[in-house]
Every structure is written in C-alpha cells, then in structure tokens.
C-alpha cells in the first residue's frame, strides 16, 4: 500500500539551519526607514533648542514674541478653519448627492472631483490670479466690460480669496471620506427606521447623519491639516496681499540671511499641531466610524430628488467650474496666446510659449530633474513601501508595529517642516547632500512614504497568507515565495503604489522650494520662479504639461486597480 519514498536521510539539523536566510532583507529595510524618518526630525528638534552656549529656548521665545510671526500664526489659523469649513460645505452635500440620489451625471461629477483632487493647488492658485486678479483678471475684465464699472468685482489677493482657492482643491478630502462612508451604509439601516414610521427627513437626521458624523468631522480635520501644510497657494496669493502664513514665514526665514534655528523653532509647533489633529481624527474614526458601519454594505437604493435634480446638478457644475473649467480654460488660453489677458483672436494665437518654454535650458533641466526624481522616488519608494508593508503584514520582525507607525508618521510633517529638517540634516557631515538631487529624493521619499505604505498595506491585506505558506511547505524559501507567488499577485497593487508616489513627486512644491539650488530645480520651482518674472504663458505651458503627465499616471493606475483614485468602489458596481 505504501509507496516507496526516495528521501535521503539528512544529518540532524544544526542551529544554523533554523535561521531565516531572508532576515537581513527585512532588517535592512527597517533600518533604512528608521534613518530616513528619525534623522531630519532629530536634527530639527535639536537645532530648535541649540544656541551658542548649549541648549536654549531663546528661539522659541523669539518666535512667540515676534509680532510678525504671531500674525502669521493667526493667519494660518484663520485660513485653516475657514477653508476647512468651506470644504465641508462643498464636499458633504456633493458626496451625498453622488452617493445616494438620482442626480444626473454622477460619474462625470465624480471624475471632476478626482481631477480637482490631483490638480496641484499652486496651479489652481496661478489660474485664479489670471481669473480674478484685481486689474488684469479675466473675470474682472469681463465684469468691467459688461457693466462699465471702474472697480474690480473680485480680488483674489485677499484672505477670503485665498480661503476660496484653498477650499477648491481641499474639498475632495471631505468628499472622499463621506462618500466612502455613505457607500458602506446599507439602505436596510435606513429602511429599518422608515418601516417604524419615520419620515425621510427624520431618517436622514437620526440615522444617516449620526453614522456619517465621524466621517464629516474627520474630513474637516483632514482639510485643516491640508491647509496648514500648504505652501504654494499662500505664497502666490498671500504674499502679494502683504500677509504671511506659517509656511510662507518659514520660507521667508530661509531667505538670505537664513535663520535656520528660527525656522526650526517655528516648525515644531506646526508639527505638533498636525500630529495632534491627526491623532484626534484617528480617535474619531476609531470609536464608531467604520466599525459600526461595517460590512460590505447591503443594497443601496437611490433617493429621488424630484424637482431638485436640475438645480442640484447646476450647483455641482458651478463648483466644478471654479475648480476645473475656469482654471484649466484660462491656463489653456494663456498657453496659446501672446498676451494672456487679451481676447483670443487669430493675431493673439501662438505656439511661441511652448517653444520658449521647452527650448529654455533651465526649463529643460527642471523637466529632466523632475521626471528623473519622479521615476527614481517612485521605484525606490514603491520597493521600500512594499517591503515594509510585507514585514508589518506578516509580522516578520520584532517591533513591526513601530515600523508601521514610522512609515505613516510623515503624514503629520508639513512639506516645509520636513524640508527644514532635511536641510539641517544633510548640510553637515556625515551626509553632505545639499545642492544635489539626492536631498530632494530623500525629501520626496519621506513625504510619499505614508501614501505608498497605505497602498501596499491594502495590497497585502488582500493576499491570503496561506497562499505563501503553501509555497513554503512545498520547499520554497521565503524570498523565493515573495518573488514567485506574492509579487505576481501584488503586481498591480505595486504599480499603483508607484503611480501614487510618482504623481506626488512631480507636483511637489513645499519641500522643494527650500531644498533646490540653481542646478537642481524641479518643474514646480520653475513655475514658482516664472511667477516672479510674470511669464504667465510659460507657467501655463509647464502647468498643462505637469497635468498631462499626472493624468497619464492616474489613468494607468485606475486601469490597474479597477477603481478610481478616490478609493471607493466604482458606482454602478455590485452592492
């Protein structure tokens, strides 16, 4: 009955045989992350309290007593609060309309929100300078032409103007949080209330709203975080208006003569504020957010809007006009005209901006730099994030929870603050990287790690560990299983991670603006510089080029993931 087995008798196993040969790989990945995260932050903290004769708190004292800096702090609070509130006012109703009602053209609206999500905010800000600058702004010219008035209708160089523009590109965060929650709530829960005799409004107020409340609050907090960390829009809109926010103030402290210690001291409060807000948001979601909603969501039935369908659609389109149509339109117009503020007649049409932009040596260098950095960071970042997510998912080394924490930690580090830390860490031995592309590479790698890690983590969660164990028990070592079984299964997820990182890198401004040198400019920095020269045609050309590359990556990613970047299941999919 028993078949003959051809098994050679091996000697008793030694201690060495029990060792996991793959261990060095995990340990190196973990050490790389540790160094990447801790070095800049440690230097930042240290420099903020270091003085001539040892430790001191004078930098902090100066930061908090300087009236200009206090004003910058207050401006940031105002900007963050109002832009988050405005984001909520735009994002929440739009989320409900697209997730729950029979609004026409939901897919289109969703696509437009996504476009707004991936639009670099500083490009939006530039576009709005061209649209609503007090003198040459296109909308103001139209208004003056129509009414004959002398004064401009809109002035974007004001705090309300800044809040408005920031909110236009921040509201997608609120939208995503709420849409994802709404799509998880089965209609059963609402119908259970209806069957008990509650009216539609009462159901919305007592059942739906409380379940979505954590998402609303955490969307609000995310928007605040976004506004706190933003550099481009305030630099473009607030500086001409004569006021600072924290991020622009840190940047100003870096201008000649640089006051690095002051910048460090000013960065720490911003860092702590973001950390606190993020902690708060996690608490909110943890308590009863998704857990209570739970499940894969049962059937969802649409609510009929009745006579409100057309007005609701118009409102959504009006928002999208401000976020997408008008800005993209003015950029396109500027890219193809000799004088962007003049009407688009045949005399005014030109391709000169394109040749001027792409023939300029410095622009060419910046484009090459950006793409090089984008590809390099995306490759290294996706690789590292994949390894880290694998380690934490399969609990390969002691302290894997710390790794997960570290990989997600940069979420709380605003780009400008990260740049200050990196600048300090890499302008002195043993790592002299300032002036090279490597310091930008490290900045991007650090900044994109949370996105890359979350994406990879989701990928590995979807791969059953037994698939790997089946390979092990058949005789394949851990690394071989990783290469032959896990990697092929995770492939599309890894490529999506690559795209996420790439998109983040090519639009990055807030860290780049402190770390670039004349030889290491990137596209976003060139765009920022062109503003000083008033070269709006060239800005438009570069901006459109950046958008084109971004959308290419988005399309690639969507194809791979089978879902859109917003993370929710495609509408019309199975409930």
């Amino acid at each position: 009955m028993a078949r003959e087995l051809t098994v050679t008798v091996r000697p008793l196993p030694s201690r060495l045989e029990g060792l996991d040969r793959s261990a060095p790989v995990w340990i190196i990945a973990a050490a790389a992350l540790l160094l990447l995260m801790l070095l800049p932050l440690a230097w930042l903290g240290y420099l903020s309290v270091s003085g001539e004769g040892g430790l001191t708190l004078t930098h902090y004292a100066r930061v908090f007593t300087d009236a200009r800096l206090q004003k910058a702090l207050w401006n940031t609070v105002v900007l963050a609060f109002w832009s988050a509130l405005l984001s909520l006012a735009i994002g929440a109703p739009m989320a409900w309309l697209t997730a729950r009602t029979d609004l026409p053209g939901k897919r289109v609206i969703r696509g437009l929100v996504m476009a707004s999500f991936v639009t670099p905010p500083f490009l939006g800000a530039f576009a709005w300078v061209m649209l609503a600058g007090p003198n040459a702004g296109y909308l103001n010219k139209l208004y003056r032409g129509l009414t004959g008035a002398e004064t401009p209708l809109l002035n974007i160089f004001t705090m309300p103007g800044l809040i408005f523009v920031v909110a236009l590109y921040t509201f997608p965060y609120v939208y995503i949080m709420i849409v994802n929650t709404l799509e998880l709530i089965a209609s059963d829960l609402e119908e259970a209330a209806s069957i008990l005799g509650a009216s539609r409004l009462w159901v919305a107020l007592t059942v739906t709203l409380p379940m979505v409340a954590p998402a609303i609050l955490s969307g609000f907090i995310l928007s605040v975080l976004q506004a706190l960390a933003l550099f481009g829009s305030p630099a473009i809109l607030a500086l001409p208006a004569g006021f600072h926010t924290i991020t622009t103030q840190i940047w100003a402290l870096f201008q000649y003569p640089p006051k690095v210690e002051m910048a460090a001291a000013f960065s720490v409060p911003l860092l702590l504020a973001t950390a606190l807000l993020l902690f708060l948001q996690k608490k909110l979601l943890g308590r009863r957010g998704y857990a209570a909603v739970g499940g894969k969501g049962g059937q969802r039935r649409q609510i009929a809007l009745g006579p409100w369908r057309q007005p609701a659609l118009l409102a959504c389109l009006a928002v999208m006009a401000c976020a997408i149509f008008l800005p993209y339109g003015i950029l396109a117009k500027a890219a193809f005209s000799r004088a962007w503020a003049q009407p688009l007649t045949w005399d005014n049409v030109t391709l000169g901006n394109w040749s001027f932009t792409f023939l300029s040596i410095s622009t060419q260098t910046a484009i090459v730099n950006t793409l090089e950095l984008g590809v390099l960071t995306a490759c290294v970042g996706a690789g590292l994030a994949t390894l880290l997510a694998y380690i934490t998912n399969r609990r390969l080394i002691v302290g894997y929870q710390l790794l997960a924490f570290l990989a997600l930690a940069p979420v709380v580090i605003p780009g400008v603050v990260l740049a200050v830390g990196l600048f300090i860490a890499y302008t002195r031995p043993p790592f002299l990287l300032y002036g090279t592309l490597w310091i930008l590479f490290l900045a991007y790698l650090t900044k994109e790690m949370p996105v890359g890690y979350s994406q990879s983590d989701a990928t590995f969660r979807g791969i059953h560990p037994e698939l790997e164990e089946a390979g092990r028990i058949l005789g394949a070592g851990r690394l071989r299983v990783l290469g032959e079984i896990t990697a092929p299964l995770a492939r599309s997820g890894i490529i999506a991670t690559w795209c996420f990182i790439f998109i983040g890198v090519i639009r990055e401004l807030s860290a780049s603006i402190l770390l670039f040198t004349p030889n290491t400019k990137v596209m976003s920095v060139v765009i920022f510089d062109l503003k000083e020269e008033g070269q709006f045609g060239a800005i438009a050309v570069l901006g459109l080029f950046m958008l084109a590359v971004t959308f290419l990556a988005v399309v690639l990613m969507q194809t791979l993931l089978g879902r859109d970047v917003l993370g929710a299941r495609p509408s019309g999919g199975s409930g």
């Binding site: 028993a2 196993p13 029990g18 005789g475």
Partner: protein, 368 residues
C-alpha cells in the same frame, strides 16, 4: 516512513494559552485527526508542526529529527511535509499544472519527469485534462482536488490538513471524506488532520485526538472515544449523551437523591462522580410489562414528557420517578409511548460510564 511525536508543546498568544502542554504520538503511516471546538488549539498545533509557528516550549520530532524546539525551528520549506489549507491556497496566477508542479522543483525531480508526475497525480485525483485551467475556472470540489494533488505529488513524509473540507457543501463534503480516506490508504503517508466535525474525524482517521483547552483530552479510535469516554468533555463532544451528577456509594453503585444506578464493571471510589448514558442505550417500555430486574440492568419508573419524531428515531424526554432527573432517550420508530404515559426505563449497567466530576482533564497516558 517516519511518525510524528509532539512532546510537551506550549504556545501562547499574549495572555492566552492556545496550546497548553500537548503530547501526541502519530505512528508511521497513521492518520490522526485533531478534533475539537474552535479555540482548542488544534490549528495552532498543526502550524507548529508545519514550522509556521515556533513553540514556546516543547518539541516536535519527525522520526529521529527534532524539527521544532524553542531554540531552533527548521523552516517549513525544509521539513519535507505537504499541507492542504482551509482556503486551498491555490495560486490564481498559475494553471492547475503549474500549481501541482511547483513543489517538484525543490525535491530533486528531474525536469523531464515532472510533467509525467503531474499528469499521473491529476489522474489519481480524477482531474485528468484540467492541466491548463486556472483555479478560478474550477468548482470548489475541483479546487480541493488540485490542492490535494499539489500536496501529494511531492511525496511528503508527513501530510497536514487544516479543515480541508469546511468550504465545501454538505454532499460534496461527504464524498471527499471517502476520497481522502482512499488516498490515505493508497499512499500511506503519516497524516495529521485538523477538524471540528466529529463525524468527519471518525470517518477519515485511524485514531482521533480530542483537544480541549490546548491539551489532548483523549486519544483513541472512534469506537473507543464513543464507548469509553474518559472525560465529561469527550463524552459531550462525541455524540449525544445524558450526564448525571451524583456520588459513588460503593464500587458499583451511583446515587443521586433517591435515584440509585448499578454501574457495571467499574471500580468507583466513593465521592462525587458524573455518569454518562448514551440516549440510544436506554430502552423504554410500557409500565405494565414489568421485566425481571437483573444485576446487569437498572429498571426505573418514569413519565414521558415529550416525544419528537425524527424519521429514523424518536427523541424522548422522560422524567424519572425517583428523582428530578430528566433523560433523553432515542427510541425506535414508530413511537410506542406518548407524552404523559408512565413507562419503565431500562438502562444496562454497562451503559453507565463513570467520569470525573469536574471539567478537569485527567493527565492521560497516551496509548501507543
């Protein structure tokens, strides 16, 4: 063909002891089922044997090789074992043939012989002709067969199965039980089979190890476990039973209030004891037909409380006249007594199995 020996195995997850001093010997070529409710430590034990988990203390031996100890854990890929997973764990990006051939690369089978081995093994599991399909294109039962083929084709020394049938529907599950038993008889590989389904364990295995709270409560053939349970847990877990708590008065007499039962062939020590009486070993008869009472039989008066017709048997609840005891009785169809009837209950003394009173598991010496 080596056997498997697990000695004093402990494994904790945080504060919870998943495996708490487990000893088990599997003879060469034997199929032993690890049976128990969820949380009894059966899957943890299997994963320690496979090398996916390191023991906190204790050792796992295969033949004369110590594979796992707290100091050294030979990785799974060097254990020459095969494993079949609950999820089947077929690789969706490989064809059936690629799935099955995967392990052959590592055990020295020349490239030229691999195709032949795969074809042969697929024929054995009745999947000839499915080589180029992908797992996603197969039914649940077919996927199960591919998983079996993939584990067997490498001719492992030890085969591990982790609830392999729990994802199949009822009729297919029954069919696969016999199929797995047939394959075991063909290949004779030493096998550990984890399941929570007692009838599955009884059909498939040579011996069943019942696990309770991380230890082996009892090991034996299906018949031994059913007829001679050693603990209350085993008696309740294997089949249905009546448990009556009381005290031993003499070496052969059980007392609960005014209820006295003769226990055959038992050396009871006076003190608290629990009796297990299987429902199908109790007979009911009309009160008028009083049979002669003998030393080998207990005859008691009772009243029928309820009778449920189940098709192949009638499930009675009867209240004994000399106590507050209610017994479940499985009687033949058609029902001969009705609720409210006075009846005579006949319980053979040999059907009364004495068990230790509390839930404690006696440290059993394992039968070899």
């Amino acid at each position: 063909m080596p056997g498997v020996s697990i000695r004093g195995l402990h494994k904790r997850y945080g504060d919870v002891a998943a495996v708490d001093g487990l000893d088990l010997d599997v003879k060469p070529g034997e199929l032993v089922a690890l049976l128990g409710p969820s949380g009894c430590g059966k899957t943890t034990t299997l994963r320690v044997v496979a090398g996916f988990l390191a023991p906190d203390s204790g050792e796992v031996w295969v033949g004369d090789r110590c594979l796992s100890s707290p100091a050294t854990v030979i990785p799974p890929e060097r254990r020459r074992m095969g494993m079949i997973f609950q999820s089947y764990a077929l690789w969706p990006h490989m064809t059936v043939a690629q799935n099955v051939a995967y392990g052959l690369r590592f055990n020295g089978v020349p490239r030229t012989e691999r195709d032949g081995k795969v074809t042969e093994m697929l024929r054995v599991v009745q999947l000839a002709g499915y080589e180029q399909r992908y797992p996603g294109e197969l039914s649940g039962g077919q996927q199960q067969r591919v998983a079996v083929a993939r584990a067997l084709v490498v001719e492992p020394e030890i085969l591990l199965l982790d609830e392999p049938l729990s994802n199949l529907d009822a009729s297919l599950r029954e069919e696969m039980r016999f199929e797995i038993r047939r394959l075991h008889e063909t290949f004779g590989i030493t096998t550990l089979y984890v399941t929570h389904d007692q009838s599955e364990a009884m059909v498939i295995s040579d011996r069943v190890a019942v696990l309770d709270q991380g230890r082996v409560a009892q090991i034996g053939t299906a018949e031994e476990l059913f007829e001679r349970p050693r603990t209350r847990f085993v008696a309740e877990f294997i089949g249905k039973t009546n448990l009556i708590e009381g005290t031993a008065e003499r070496s052969d007499t059980f007392v609960r209030g005014s209820l006295r039962l003769r226990v055959f062939d038992a050396n009871l020590t006076p003190g608290p004891v629990v009796l297990s009486i299987r429902p199908h070993q109790i007979a009911l008869g009309p009160a008028s037909l009083a049979p002669p009472s003998s030393a080998g039989e207990n005859v008691l008066r009772a009243t029928v409380l309820r009778a449920s017709y189940l098709g192949d048997a009638v499930d009675y609840q009867v209240q004994l006249a000399d106590g507050d005891t209610v017994l479940r009785v499985a009687g033949p169809t058609p029902p001969r007594v009705r609720p409210g009837d006075s009846v005579r209950v006949r319980i053979p003394a040999s059907a009364c199995i004495p068990l230790p009173p509390d839930g404690a598991i006696p440290r059993v010496k394992l039968s070899q």
